[in-house]
């Protein structure tokens, strides 16, 4: 191999202009590929983070539903009772939690009591969602303490936290008291200790965090919760892990964020696919470029090929010289391309900012993606060299030698 490597390098160095041309081609191609890939994956990571970064990745709730009486009307000879289904609570949640704690990939386990109701102040009444939580557990999922816009992050007793839009609507500030009523007409007064911004209009307009014990008495639940919310390290492991949990708790309904956000995932997938198609054609174009320049270089090196074959280089080894040239130039171009691609991404992050002057989203350069780009470019270089290499191996020595 020493001979082939030596020849390949020397041929590349002596054909300076061509080498630089091919190198520029690969560099640009790989740079575009890396930039595009990083951009898309950064965008997607950001979207996913926004969607599920602060929410439950896997939710466990009871499979059974209980009828709940909504109304009862009497008329002569009949009585009509209207029922709605209500999710039954998880009774043995402490047991389930202890089981869940055996899974090391879980980063947060938060049993939650949820329920609907109204917040009433003055003449106004807003529909709300009660979230009865244990603050330290829920904080790991919702990052509440970092997202308090006003007041303090205390939950307990009569202290509650409220979405900032809801507070605005009701004209509330931290320290104010508010009347809350459940759908079952149980009501009580609470003190707003802080306002939060969870980054979603929907939640900011309706959510209220209160202590789980308080919610339990409000909803008249004993030793049960509505669901258990779970967060995990690698968000994409949620679905397989859910499957595993379904085996272990067949009587519990277990939903992963992928099921809840199927639409988003479909959108992301088609985005990835179109990005891959673009990357593929960029590489094809680059490969064709290398192939044509190398084909010319084989013709130019006819004489040299004839000589080394005459003095005993086997045809295969001559072909290998050109394959190596393709590979070497592909590898060097890939490194330069990856560096320029990363530079381009950095430039994008620096230049393209939102109104507040923050980057739109972080660009992710996944080392695995970079390694794959490198390997693809190197292989593309060798593929491009395949035909020229075969031509060089087939070259008729006698003709070259005799025609000077």
């Amino acid at each position: 191999m020493w001979f082939e490597i030596k020849m390949a390098f020397r041929f590349l160095i002596s054909g300076r202009t061509q080498t630089l041309l091919i190198l520029a081609g690969i560099t640009i191609g790989v740079a575009v590929q890396v930039f595009l890939g990083s951009l898309i994956s950064g965008l997607q990571a950001d979207l996913i983070q926004q969607t599920i970064g602060s929410s439950s990745h896997i939710t466990l709730r009871s499979e059974r539903e209980l009828p709940r009486q909504i109304s009862e009307t009497y008329s002569p000879g009949s009585r009509v009772i209207t029922f709605a289904d209500r999710q039954e609570g998880l009774k043995n949640y402490d047991l389930i939690r202890r089981e869940l704690e055996n899974y090391s990939e879980l980063t947060a386990i938060s049993p939650t009591i949820t329920g609907n109701g109204f917040a009433i102040r003055g003449g106004k009444s807003e529909s709300i969602v009660f979230r009865g939580i244990d603050f330290s557990e829920a904080d790991k999922i919702y990052n509440i303490s970092d997202r308090i816009t006003r007041g303090e992050a205390t939950v307990g007793g009569n202290d509650i936290l409220m979405g900032k839009n809801l507070a605005e609507e009701l004209n509330l500030a931290p320290g104010d008291t508010i009347q809350l009523r459940t759908a079952d007409d149980v009501q009580d007064r609470f003190r707003v200790s802080g306002l939060f911004d969870l980054g979603s209009q929907d939640l900011n307009e309706s959510w209220i965090f209160l202590a789980r014990s308080r919610a339990a008495s409000l909803f008249n639940l004993r030793n049960e919760v509505s669901n258990i919310e779970v967060q995990i390290e690698d968000v994409f492991a949620a679905e397989p892990l859910s499957e595993q949990l379904r085996q272990e708790f067949p009587e519990i309904e277990i939903e992963s964020w992928q099921q809840t956000n199927a639409d988003l995932l479909t959108a992301l997938e088609s985005q990835s696919t179109s990005s891959l198609v673009i990357q593929f054609f960029v590489i094809v174009a680059v490969t064709l470029g290398i192939a044509s320049v190398l084909a010319v270089s084989v013709v130019q090196k006819n004489k040299q090929i004839g000589i080394i074959k005459a003095i005993g280089a086997r045809p295969k080894r001559v072909g290998r010289i050109f394959l190596l040239q393709g590979g070497i130039i592909g590898a060097i171009g890939a490194v330069l391309g990856i560096l320029s691609g990363l530079g381009l991404s950095q430039l994008f992050v620096t230049l393209v900012r939102d109104a507040a002057g923050d980057p739109l989203f972080p660009i992710e350069a996944d080392p695995r993606f970079l390694a794959i780009s490198f390997i693809i470019a190197t292989i593309a270089g060798m593929l491009a060299a395949l035909v020229p290499a075969r031509n060089s191996a087939r070259l008729n020595t006698v003709e070259v030698i005799q025609n000077g």
Partner: protein, 255 residues
């Protein structure tokens, strides 16, 4: 027979697929150790074709070619390449050095091919060869920076690198002026005497051929004369230098 380094046995060579042209019509000859031979003949006589067959660059249509007792017409492409690398040396008319490499690197090239990175001994041997051809001051020049005669000397040094038993030279002085031709010819002669290497020199220069030990004259694909031995008589030498058909006419006149 046992000492035959090169043996060509009833060799035919035909070119072309649709229009077949027979270039060699059953040629046979043999060369012994230490032979310093010339193949002469006019353009198109088939002398270069014959050399290419001995050089294992081409295969005969019929007949056999033996190098050191081995029938090379039976070898595959790879074995032929190895044979050219180990047992044969080449000096071409257009000197054929690789322009990307220095003189020394060109001389080392046969070793690169056979074993890869050269050893210290290989490099010493290459430098000795460069010294033998008188090129030491220019050994690190790129081959494009050498004159025609200098390139040919380097090509000769390269042909000796793997210590081959046979050196095949196709018009080695064809591109050189008279003085340089003389120096190159002397160099080949010295190498023949010093290393015992068999030389086969294809040339149309009859003066040059006249100074070899053995002359194979080929006309229209047939060997018309094979001359060997030392020449004493000046007229005899001239006869040998004259083309075969002249000698034929001279005989007719004398008769």
């Amino acid at each position: 027979m046992d000492n035959n380094i090169i043996e060509v046995e009833d060799v035919y060579k035909t070119y072309g697929d649709e229009v077949e042209t027979e270039v060699l019509h059953g040629v046979s000859f043999s060369l012994l150790e230490n032979d310093f031979a010339a193949i002469i003949g006019p353009s198109g006589s088939g002398k270069s074709t014959l050399l290419n067959l001995i050089a294992a660059l081409d295969k005969p249509t019929r007949g056999k070619v033996f190098i050191s007792g081995e029938d090379i017409t039976q070898l595959d492409e790879n074995k032929l390449a190895d044979l050219r690398n180990e047992k044969l040396g080449f000096v071409f008319q257009f000197h054929h050095l690789l322009p990307e490499f220095t003189a020394l690197e060109n001389v080392l090239m046969p070793v690169w091919i056979s074993q890869g990175k050269p050893t210290r001994e290989d490099e010493e041997w290459a430098e000795k060869l460069i010294d033998t051809v008188g090129m030491t001051p220019w050994k690190d020049n790129l081959s494009t920076k050498l004159s025609g005669g200098q390139k040919q000397r380097i090509a000769i040094a390269r042909s000796l690198m793997n210590k081959p038993g046979v050196i095949l030279a196709d018009e080695p002085t064809g591109n050189l002026d008279t003085d340089t031709s003389e120096q190159v010819f002397k160099l080949l002669r010295n190498i023949n005497q010093e290393f015992g290497t068999v030389f086969v020199i294809v040339t149309h220069d009859r003066h040059l051929a006249g100074r070899t030990d053995k002359i194979i004259e080929i006309v229209d694909g047939n060997i018309v004369r094979t001359l060997s031995g030392s020449k004493t008589d000046e007229f005899e030498v001239w006869d040998e230098m004259a083309p075969g058909y002249c000698v034929e006419h001279k005989k007719k006149v004398e008769v």
